[in-house]
Symmetry: D2
Subunit: 384 residues, 4 copies
């Protein structure tokens, strides 16, 4: 089921909502998408007032304080979910029921069971789905994928991934929904490690088994301004995993939301039998590559600045090394969404792929309970 | 003279034309500019066919193969000049004559005399002008300016600036208009050092005297495909300047278009009596800052990732360190243009400021001829 | 038991033997040690000829092809063991029996039982012991320790350590004793992770429990030149650990000897409740430090170049940032050895501390067998 | 004239004196120099007491408070001058008169005339000379030289060198001999730029013409503790040069002693027709190299860690990337000195080569006086 245009209904206009709004426009000019085919049609937020203000700010034609109205609006082709995690399921199921395509922010759901329910509903309804794991859309990361696939670093034998930020490092930051299981699910695991897990699967192979460790470091926090007392933090500040991939490679994955100094500290190092590559999102437009070839005297890590020779860069700039930003990755994601919805291209990572991430996150919790390695269910290979 | 909207007429839709097109859209969502107030109205290019194709790709409503028609179109409020250097003057003078605001790419003109003529015409007509020295719009560079102005590094005593790229490093790249004086003016000097000069003035003080060196390294190049023979390169591959600023500080500025490995190698290091700051455009979202204070044991250059605490970053992202791209700087520039045209804010760097850059570039040529230091005419302080 | 001089008997004059020889001399001038108090007296190697050649090259007075003669020589005060791992035990026990102080390279032994036997013998005999975990002697790392101890980064909540090299990354490198359990013990674990474990304990707290993963990636290798067939690799190319420290902090430790591009890739990142510090041995003379204090606008990782303000640097150079090398760390270690032997200062890490490392490495193997977390015996806190 | 041993007489035991003392010992073990052939024989300093104390600290056999006695001692083969600049001439001329080889710290003299007098005396006497421009002895820099000589980066077209430190950045640091022309000569120029000039000539080609700028930024400083009033600084805090090399290449050289944050900030970037190399002394064990070859997609600056494949590294360590320190460069220098004196190898940079540096520094002053370009006398090519 495709349409000849993609009129967007955005639900939630906070941090990610704005990033999407910028990216829709960015994508039109960068990827030569006809304006009439990509329209920022309606924006829903928690109240009509907020929604109306944001619609004006972000350049949406209409607004509503009730996401159900957006979903059922006949002039909406795709529902874009930028609401908090715990709302993803209800909004997505309703959108699917209304026959709309769904573009959801990550993590897809609070747990694997919900994610499977969403996936199966979408597949049954035959709507297109896409989940916002934007880091894999970065031209630099796409290039890393290319290098791996064409064998430049040989067979991958090791993956180390870290996603550290410090947005909750200050223990005086107030209690919030992000710290409660019912609203956020797990903590750094769901919020940050979800990206890493998706990257690891994408770049290496399925994760077959894992052993993990989670810790709540700051166990209580003051209630938000105006309230007295403390809130008890329910989910992990720091998360660790050791994994084994389907191809035999080993890996370690770590995430923290209390790692002072790290702002978008998503990095990975992938070692193969012929070479190694290193990426760090804080310098998102470069990749370091070491290949064991040629004169040993001149071997070293090459710092490659992303440029027109690499996937999807040229849409933004014809000169190498001029640098892409966070929102540019989202523009690539939206180009994909457009290609999927308007030109029936395959969309990835779809709900099924994102469910696999949720399954792995659930396995982490299981491993922590058992203090031992656990096997991981394979779901994303099944259908598609 | 302001209008209540800014309908854009873009002349030239190559490298910079597309960057502008992306930025217009980007700015709407990032800076909450009402859509009806900022419209991509018409695009002119060398032929009607090219113009029409590009208008569709870049999301402009109408197109023309004749920039004079664009200039005289009643629904155009501002003429955006992204055509090659030698056309800037004619287009700008015509636009001014038609009472249009003018937003021109740098360098403003091929020489200081032309630039002065353009400046005086614009000031007489009372139209707004802005020149695309985008690097100063980068939130990181704005922050550098802030640090300097509030005295964090004390009195500036030294500026070193380098702008190196390798776009002509390969001596087999064909001859083109960029290598001819009548079309491009000087070489690396006009193309790259112009940015550096503008940054130096902006961040330090007026340049009062200078001594320079220019060199054509690859003196001939093959003619473009299909043609036989060689073309004789008329302008500099490498340019050097030693300068003295009005505040007594010393500086060195260098540019090269044949510096292998440098892709957007614009960097500067500014030393003051209390500290030093370092910037490198290839990692455009960070600034290194050294301040002589506190325990000597823990002194060092701080790598500051640009974030919401810094000027104009928050429009793009609420989280620090997520990284801005080249086109985001242009979006800030366009926000300024909008504020100038629709809300009558002062615009900077305007034609007068850009003329000062052209004057300095002319002084470079004079110094090279004399093999000695020369004094620099001060023009931009005069009116405004 | 101290002596008024330290006449050294070196056993093994390969890689580390030479590093020690350089460092003995270096230490004399750097730390103003009287020449007569520190003498390079005798060198033992596998054959008399080799020993004699090396003694001349490395500046030792006498030589022998039999380490037992060295040990029993009356003019030797300390036996310095730079022979392969499997010889450490026999040489050390014999030296202790002869009443000599012992300075051994790491890892102390092939397993914890051997290490305990050596420790107990040394303590009973009352000789001084020191083990060559040189990385903690680096002024930069000493400074890191200082920062942690005085609370600059608050309470440590996380340690991530990696020690990657590529000395066996090429799968065509020949089979050798390093790949056999009886001669080397475990692989990357014993050779590289031993340093990391020692650093982690030193900088954070005792390791109380762990879960680990080991893998032999290149399972067979060609026999050494001249021989036909392949050798079967018995020990790990890659080693992973998740740990919990006595203070509640979490950690991950990894080592690899097949990580292309990493030459001395020992790095760690330590996060506390107030800040973070980062170290990388490939740039051994700098430390990155982030502290959450002051204006958020100017927060960032500070790159601190080690200098005279930091421990033990000034002995080498009065100017900051001039850089120390690998052998300089050994000179600090030898200064400690001298202080211990001639001036009865406490020596650290001694055999008992090094035994704790061996215990942890044994726990790794146990965890891998059980595919689960294991508790770690605490030995080094017991006596001293 | 050679001797079969090299008994050293050290004059001056401050910063450099100690560095030399460490390096003599380091060199014995690193380069397998027989102990009896390299002896730290006598140390002279300003007073007998100081000399005696230092001799003990630094491991010299004898001491004297009068450098003339050292020079005339029959058991001294080479006089090593680590006294302040203004003493170099007298000590060197006396040593030469006594038939001793001379190893002098840089800059050779306060001006070119003195340097020529010293050179001619030494050549007439037939003694060996060496000047302590240690940065070119760094294995990393030797490797850079190799790369250039074998054409890896093509023909050199550009050199940019900077030598910035902050040892006088604090304007409250007291007045001293370093700030007076009669004792120090020029300022940052003599102290820091001298190294850069020597490197530039060594790595590129003779300097044929130059244009320069010098500035005293902090014009007065408090007198040293105990004294009242201020001292008037006579020499440059900041020095700039634009140069043209004999091969046609352009260059810029800068030095500052007031550049906050730079500790040993000697860096250079050399561009050729095929590639570029970058070096920074603050990370002295690595070189960045860009070569225009192979797939454009994987081009980038390679960070090469110095190792046994590179000149003179293996003497210190058999593993790559383990890092050399400042004093290790001096050990290479001393190996050269030993080879020259004991084995009659050519020594470089000798007094003649160092005189060329002094000539260029004098040309800088001339250019500043004239505010114009000047031609440079070529002296070092004449004899040898
Ligand atoms: N891909 C990425 O890199 C990132 C993804 N995210 C994901 O994006 C989602 C949103 O997170 P943020 O934008 O950071 O949160 P936010 O708190 O900034 O924004 C949430 C928005 O949802 C709105 N909202 C709340 N309840 C609503 C309701 N009932 N109906 C309609 N709107 C409602 C809020 O008013 C707000 O506009 C989360 O799932 C998060 O995990 C967040 C940050 C980065
Ligand atoms: N601010 C910055 O960082 C940069 C500024 N520039 C400046 O932008 C300007 C354009 O440069 P590029 O975009 O690199 O050149 P380009 O060659 O990529 O594009 C020039 C455009 O002008 C069009 N054009 C040529 N003749 C025309 C005519 N008679 N009428 C209408 N259109 C015509 C061409 O067809 C083409 O679309 C130059 O002045 C350059 O200095 C260029 C690159 C970066
Ligand atoms: N602290 C550190 O960073 C490092 C420590 N090491 C440790 O140093 C020790 C030696 O390793 P390498 O120097 O790399 O090995 P190597 O193979 O380079 O040297 C071993 C030396 O021992 C000699 N040897 C062998 N059998 C002997 C015998 N029966 N009697 C006397 N000498 C004998 C060999 O001839 C050779 O001279 C090992 O325990 C290793 O783990 C090694 C490298 C780095
Ligand atoms: N190659 C390099 O990288 C460096 C070279 N140098 C050079 O080394 C030389 C010495 O500089 P520093 O060691 O920094 O100075 P310093 O002030 O630390 O040491 C000078 C030494 O000379 C002694 N001295 C003074 N008058 C004397 C006399 N009449 N007789 C005997 N000794 C006397 C002083 O007591 C002191 O021990 C200078 O020429 C300087 O340019 C200095 C630093 C680095």
């Amino acid at each position: 089921m495709t349409t000849n245009k993609m009129r967007v209904g955005l639900v939630g206009s906070g941090y990610m909502g704005k990033a999407h709004a910028i990216a829709y426009r960015n994508a039109i000019a960068a990827f030569a998408i006809p304006q009439w085919q990509l329209q920022c049609e309606m924006l829903a937020d928690a109240t009509p007032e907020l929604a109306e203000m944001k619609a004006q700010e972000l350049g949406f034609n209409r607004s509503t304080g009730d996401w159900k109205r957006l979903i059922n609006d006949p002039d909406i082709d795709v529902v874009d979910i930028c609401a908090p995690n715990f709302l993803h399921k209800d909004i997505a199921l309703a959108a699917i029921a209304a026959g709309k395509h769904v573009y959801s922010e990550k993590p897809l759901a609070l747990n694997a069971d919900d994610a499977k329910e969403m996936t199966e509903a979408a597949e049954l309804a035959g709507v297109k789905t896409l989940v916002g794991f934007n880091y894999i859309k970065n031209p630099t990361v796409q290039f890393a994928k290319q290098l791996i696939e064409r064998g430049d670093i040989g067979d991958v034998v090791h993956f180390r991934g870290v996603f550290n930020e410090d947005y909750l490092a200050d223990s005086n930051l107030p209690f919030s929904w992000r710290l409660q299981k019912q609203f956020a699910g797990t903590g750094a695991l769901n919020d940050l490690a979800s990206h890493l897990v998706q990257l690891a699967i994408h770049l290496v192979a399925p994760i077959q088994s894992l052993c993990a460790d989670l810790k709540v470091v700051h166990q209580q926090r003051p209630l938000a301004q105006g309230e007295n007392g403390v809130g008890h933090v329910e989910n992990d500040d720091q998360a660790h995993m050791m994994v084994r991939f389907a191809n035999g490679a080993q890996g370690t994955l770590e995430a923290s939301r209390i790692a002072w100094g790290r702002k978008n500290g998503l990095s990975f190092e992938i070692t193969g039998t012929k070479g190694t590559l290193i990426f760090d999102q804080e310098t998102l437009s470069e990749l370091s590559l070491y290949i064991n070839e040629g004169n040993p005297q001149t071997q070293g890590f090459k710092r490659i600045l992303v440029g027109p020779e690499h996937p999807d860069y040229q849409a933004f700039c014809v000169s190498a090394g001029h640098g892409l930003g966070f929102n540019d990755m989202k523009a690539v994601e939206i180009r994909d969404l457009y290609q999927g919805i308007v030109h029936n291209a395959p969309l990835w990572p779809d709900f099924r792929a994102a469910t696999q991430v949720n399954i792995i996150l659930d396995s982490v919790v299981e491993s922590v309970d058992k203090r031992a390695w656990v096997e991981v269910e394979q779901y994303d290979g099944e259908q598609k």
